[in-house]
């Protein structure tokens, strides 16, 4: 919380800072979404006008930001209970809920309209689906009801690569579908590695994350189980002839490291969250892994072209 927001009474919260609106969009999550969307666009076999390409990536960012804002609007009560999220604009009292709702709906609608008018209809439909999926299916329906929330919710984060590809080509093809599968299958090990060492927060907030509901041992096994199909999805484009050796060798090496880290998590017996090093290593590496794999996809296409 800023000094200013600490110093003033609750009526100050209706005049939120512009930085608070930016924080609503979850900028750190946004960077990954924008990157995968951009890679989908750049890896496509058809080149797009740079202005329209920029517009497509901007729309993906705005759509994801709007979904993040609506997520925070709906989950303000949960966020207030968790150490990691208690300082967000709504639980910290720096913004009123209605402003967050208006901001999320307004930016989301604008992003879909702009994508439809400036780029193409398929990209706009996929963007709309991804926003609705994240807000309605993940945030409202699944997150508080099932420990599989992350599995289904992962699809929302996997959409940008499809949208980027569709923006460039106007079609959905095998390679972006495999990359969609990669992000979809990457999400459970990524989030469950985090959930293992912040389990206390989720327990306090009553969120049925897998470590809370099924226990640490089951979660570790699930991390390992999801990593296997994720590695297959990551490497598959090479033997299928959809990418070249640059991607194939690079993705194989990166995936092998991911698998080793997941095995360490899978066979760990540590119960103290502060000592869960394999989980922390896997969580940190999983972010690097996704950036690097998608970077390789673009590098492969650029070097072959």
């Amino acid at each position: 919380m800023t000094m200013a927001s600490k110093a003033f009474s609750p009526d100050m919260s209706v005049t939120a800072e512009w930085r608070d609106f930016l924080a609503l969009t979850k900028p750190r999550v946004l960077s990954l979404v924008v990157f995968t969307g951009l890679c989908g666009l750049l890896a496509a076999p058809v080149s797009i006008n740079p202005v329209l390409g920029f517009t497509a990536v901007l729309c993906i960012a705005l759509g994801a930001g709007a979904a993040g804002a609506l997520n925070q609007w709906y989950e303000a009560d949960l966020d207030a209970l968790m150490h990691r999220t208690a300082n967000r604009p709504l639980p910290a009292g720096r913004m009123d809920r209605q402003s967050a709702l208006h901001f999320g709906v307004g930016v989301g609608a604008f992003s879909v309209l702009l994508m439809g008018l400036a780029v193409n209809l398929l990209a706009a439909v996929l963007l709309l689906l991804s926003i609705l999926f994240y807000v309605m299916i993940y945030t409202v329906w699944l997150k508080r009801r099932t420990p599989q929330n992350i599995v289904i919710g992962g699809a929302a984060g996997a959409f940008p690569v499809l949208i980027g590809w569709a923006a460039a080509t106007g079609r959905v093809e095998a390679l972006p579908v495999l990359m969609f599968a990669l992000v979809f299958l990457w999400t459970p090990p990524h989030f469950w590695a985090l959930a293992l060492f912040v389990k206390a927060d989720y327990t306090k907030a009553g969120v049925p994350m897998l470590p809370v509901v099924a226990g640490i041992r089951t979660t570790r096994a699930q991390v390992l189980l999801y990593t296997v199909p994720m590695v297959i999805a990551a490497v598959a484009p090479w033997p299928l002839g959809l990418t070249g050796a640059i991607y194939g060798v690079g993705a194989s090496a990166l995936s092998a490291i991911f698998l080793v880290l997941a095995v360490r998590v899978g066979f760990s017996t540590e119960g103290d969250a502060t000592l869960m090093k394999p989980e922390r290593h896997l969580f940190a590496y999983s972010i690097v892994y996704l950036f690097a794999t998608f970077g390789l996809l673009v590098a492969d296409k650029a070097l072959i072209a």
Binding site: A4, A7, F8, S9, D11, M12, T15, A16, E17, W18, N49, V51, L52, T55, L58, A118
Partner: protein, 43 residues
């Protein structure tokens, strides 16, 4: 009656001003973007 203290008023004004500046910059950027999109769609 609920009276806002002067120091709060000053802080509210500061926030409103910074939000207005950011809104103006965003609108200006959108004008440029829409113009560029119009040209790109004609090509």
């Amino acid at each position: 009656m609920n009276v806002t203290p002067p120091e709060n008023q000053a802080e509210i004004r500061r926030r409103q001003r910074s939000r207005s500046i950011v809104t103006a910059l965003v609108l200006g950027a959108l004008v440029i973007l829409f113009y560029a999109i119009s040209i790109a769609k004609m090509l």
